[in-house]
């Protein structure tokens, strides 16, 4: 078992065990067990093992000739192979990369492949996490063996079926690009043997290809959904509308968890198209008002016509300015210990740096606002949603609606981005949808309801990347050698109170708050954390803890290099131990490809460097930036990526470009969620700033060659970007940026 896999295991262990059994405390060992079982086919569902019972039932129900029953792929008579993708596709490319893994071992032509998002189902659980979910940059890392084995087993069964028909031995049958070829000139398409293959026993073991024989894995493959997404034909959750669907929008309390004090719905009900106005339970014990109408526009007009007074007396009303002051005060005291070191040298250090960092709340703001369709019936419930957490969402909807999880049929819809917002341990928007459906039913009505969030609902709806303060004191000797580093972090825990707590909170310390605070550096660091409480729901955001820890670490390491009067690349090369070979390889690659230290930059530009590992992948960035009139600009980003086997280099490039852009967005003035008296101050893209095309640097992605088991790629491109950019700005201005978004005007000279 590789170390990188273990790291992922410690970050997000077997959630399924904790959720189902409530036992928690899942150790490395049980994670290894889960992975090992997965590797040997725990979730293998091709043709469904165990007597093909499900297979036969489904076959009876399926239209003739379409090979329907199997859980993971079906081969149609026209030889197309449709793969059930057991994750959410929301841009990261798994609807293409998982079919690639099957195609490689099944030995088919790529043009035959199709991908479909699987509904919630037992067999679709993530082999490592134990629940059906998309997160932790884990799709390829966790399913690399799983999906290849499914492909290899399917191929073996096709071969066995053809051998039986042709009355030859299976080892006399070979395959080539979706064709079965016999020893005496026999030839048939896979599609012709799809039915017969199902009747073959599933092989207990299969030999997977040697990486040197890969013809699809490791090669740039274009997305299966690019055509549909370029022509408006792709159906997203927002576009799904079964016959008779009514639209609901919800007026949510202005302060999280507040209640309705007074409601006059008469004006709203008078609007043509408005069907009903219903008080409903909302997140965090709050109460809101759902307006149900024939379409979104009348529903929205109805909501605007509500005369509402809120009761906010029982809930805390957070103000950002006050919170930040409290966080800064807390940061001066030691918190829960994470790691200890001798801090005596700090007092007698020849040079000291005291650095206080501030990070705001951030909304994910995926382009497709949250939505779902829910159809609550007497004996069950059907839900269509772009869910990143199918298992937990299914359970939460069932709990809310008084149903058993198996009575909730959850369909996974293509989602327009997510970045973490569709993976909510409380299933906030789906629980709310179930409450709207319950109220609708109680009002004597039935039929599918589509709950749509406006952009304002999304920006003001909570579940933000938590705000944080870091405080660091670094002491150096006269030559700039680092002697001691005293560090504290203040922020809300994402994990505490969630089903992930047993695996990810240890001695009160949330693993996501400190990830990225140590390796690859051997530091004399004293680290502690303070778990702040606030009435603001928080959530992971692309790269989770590394969204803030990487910025702090990589800008401070830059300062340490400066204190030692060393080049920042040379310094990192010196202080990163040789055992971190992947860090060195990624950094070397980025440095070499960028021309760092060799190429002369245009006047007014400077280099910046950072390297960070997250989700098992090391990303090194060498960037160029300039500052004009107090406004920084990022020109180029050269990336050195170490993700072991690069399954689809084209997707990896896209993920790096995307993570870079998202990280650039966090540096822009206005990229912050702030609160005043409990109310979120931003509304829409006018006051919550995200990156636009002129903000996009030229990104040049290079991948270190490797045949080791792949590591994550959805998130690791994010963390090192902002610190590399800040380090370049320091070279240009002499100012150390310690706050996101960047604010050059208010930053003191270092």
């Amino acid at each position: 078992m590789r170390k990188e896999w273990l790291n992922q295991g410690t970050a997000l262990g077997d959630v399924g065990a904790a959720v189902a059994g409530g036992q928690g405390g899942v150790s490395r060992r049980s994670f290894m067990k889960a992975s090992a079982v997965a590797g040997s086919g725990l979730v293998l569902g091709f043709f469904v093992s165990g007597g093909n019972k499900m297979a036969r039932a489904a076959e009876a129900a399926a239209p003739a000739k379409v090979y329907e029953p199997n859980a993971f792929l079906r081969i149609a008579p026209d030889n197309t192979v449709t793969v059930q993708v057991n994750r959410l596709e929301f841009g990261q490319g798994v609807q293409t990369s998982l079919p690639m893994l099957i195609a490689e071992e099944l030995d088919v032509d790529w043009a035959q492949m199709r991908g479909e998002l699987a509904d919630a189902g037992e067999q679709y659980k993530d082999p490592a996490f134990g629940i059906q979910m998309t997160g932790g940059s884990g799709t390829i890392a966790h399913s690399f063996i799983q999906y290849r084995e499914i492909g290899a087993k399917a191929r073996a069964m096709l071969v066995a079926a053809a051998a039986a028909e042709w009355k030859v031995s299976p080892d006399q049958v070979r395959t080539a690009k979706g064709m079965l070829i016999g020893p005496n000139g026999q030839q048939a398409k896979y599609g012709a043997f799809a039915d017969a293959a199902m009747k073959q026993p599933m092989p207990a073991t299969v030999k997977l290809k040697d990486p040197k024989d890969f013809v699809i894995i490791g090669h740039p493959v274009k997305r299966l959904d690019a055509q549909a997404k370029s022509t408006g034909k792709q159906q997203f959750g927002m576009d799904f509308k079964p016959e008779g669907t009514k639209v609901a929008v919800v007026a949510r309390p202005p302060v999280f968890g507040a209640k309705v004090a007074k409601l006059d719905a008469s004006k709203a009900k008078a609007i043509p198209g408005v069907i009903d106005v219903l008080e409903v339970a909302t997140d965090r014990g709050g109460r809101g008002v759902a307006v149900i109408a024939t379409g979104y526009w009348p529903a929205k007009q109805g909501r605007e016509a509500l005369v509402l007074e809120w009761d906010t007396s029982a809930v805390e009303k957070v103000s950002t300015a006050k919170q930040m002051a409290e966080f800064k005060a807390l940061a001066q005291k030691p918190g829960l210990p994470v790691k200890k070191a001798d801090m005596a040298p700090l007092a007698k250090a020849a040079k000291k740096i005291t650095a206080v960092y501030e990070f705001p709340y951030l909304a994910h703001a995926p382009m497709e606002p949250l939505n779902c369709v829910i159809d609550l019936k007497a004996d069950g419930c059907e839900v269509w949603a772009g869910s990143q957490f199918q298992t937990l969402d299914q359970m939460a909807i069932a709990r809310t609606a008084g149903l058993k999880p198996e009575q909730v049929k959850l369909h996974t819809m293509m989602a327009g981005g997510g970045f973490g917002r569709r993976a909510v341990p409380t299933s906030d928007y789906l629980v709310e949808a179930a409450n709207v459906a319950l109220a609708y039913k109680a009002a004597g009505k039935s039929g599918p309801l589509k709950i749509i969030w406006s952009r304002e609902d999304d920006i003001r709806g909570g579940y933000y990347r938590p705000s944080h303060v870091h405080r660091a004191e670094l002491g150096f000797d006269a030559k700039g050698k680092l002697l001691a580093w005293n560090h504290s972090i203040v922020g809300q825990s994402i994990i505490t109170g969630s089903p992930f707590e047993p695996m990810m909170v240890k001695d009160g310390v949330d693993a996501t708050m400190i990830e990225g605070m140590g390796e690859p550096y051997e530091l004399p660091m004293n680290l502690s954390v303070h778990n702040a409480k606030a009435n603001v729901p928080v959530l992971w955001w692309r790269s989770v803890g590394s969204t803030h820890t990487a910025f702090v670490m990589e800008t401070l390491i830059d300062e340490a290099a400066h204190a030692a009067k060393m080049d920042p690349v040379a310094y990192r090369k010196q202080v990163i131990d040789a055992k971190h070979a992947r860090h060195h390889a990624a950094l070397d690659l980025a440095v070499a490809k960028s021309g760092y230290g060799k190429k002369a930059l245009p006047k007014g530009q400077a280099w910046g460097v950072a390297v960070h590992e997250s989700f098992g992948t090391v990303v090194a960035y060498v960037v160029t930036a300039s500052v004009k009139g107090g406004v920084p600009h990022l020109h180029t980003v050269t990336a050195g990526i170490h993700c072991n086997t690069a399954v689809n280099p084209m997707t990896i490039e896209a993920q790096v470009q995307g993570a870079v852009l998202m990280a650039v967005g966090t540096t822009l003035p206005g990229a912050a969620i702030t609160l005043k008296d409990g109310v979120v101050e931003q509304q829409n893209f006018g006051d919550y700033v995200v990156a636009r095309m002129p903000d996009m640097p030229l990104v040049d992605v290079h991948i270190v060659p490797s045949t080791e088991p792949p590591t994550g790629m959805g998130e690791p491109g994010f963390p090192p970007l902002a610190p590399a950019y800040a380090n370049a700005i320091f070279k240009l201005t002499g100012k150390r940026l310690r706050k996101l978004p960047f604010d050059l005007a208010k930053t003191a000279k270092a």
Binding site: G91, G232, Y296, M367, E368, E456, F685, M693
Partner: protein, 152 residues
């Protein structure tokens, strides 16, 4: 009832005159290629063409466009420039989540109709109103330049 001309056809829409074209398309005409992203003309996901000009459908009431030609993403495959843009989008593997791409394609098509050889700055300026959270901007730039060559 308001009569709209959508992709060359007159269609009747039974909706309040204040209804934005976006919701008339999506809810009344079941044309879901045009996307809802912000409702305030801030993100460009709903971009359509009105008499050839790129317009945000989310703030354009149907009462304001009666008698004008509304063109949506659904008509782009039959449009020389639109088709070239879509082909370039596929060639450069532009979409990630894809939700903003209808609007991006509509803005890019409008740009190439008036500017046959846009520079990086032209592209940035014409496309700055279209937000993509996934970060497809670099491939969009390349695809627009490629499409420009195709239709030259």
């Amino acid at each position: 009832m308001i009569t709209l001309n959508v992709n060359g056809k007159d269609v009747q829409v039974d909706a309040d005159p204040s209804t934005p074209v976006l919701w008339a398309l999506r809810d009344n005409l079941n044309m879901t290629g045009t996307k809802f992203g912000c409702g305030m003309a801030l993100c460009g996901a709903c971009t359509i063409h009105i008499d050839g000009n790129p317009t945000r459908a989310c703030i354009t009431p149907i009462s304001a466009v009666a008698g004008q030609k509304i063109t949506t993403i659904e008509a782009m495959e039959g449009d020389k420039v639109g088709k070239a843009v879509q082909d370039a989008w596929v060639k450069h593997d532009v979409p990630q989540c894809g939700y903003c791409q209808s609007g991006q394609v509509m803005s890019a098509t409008a740009l190439l109709r008036t500017n046959k050889a846009p520079s990086d700055a032209d592209i940035d300026s014409a496309m700055a109103g279209n937000i993509c959270r996934c970060g497809t901007y670099q491939r969009i730039r390349a695809a627009i330049k490629d499409a420009a060559k195709t239709i030259a």
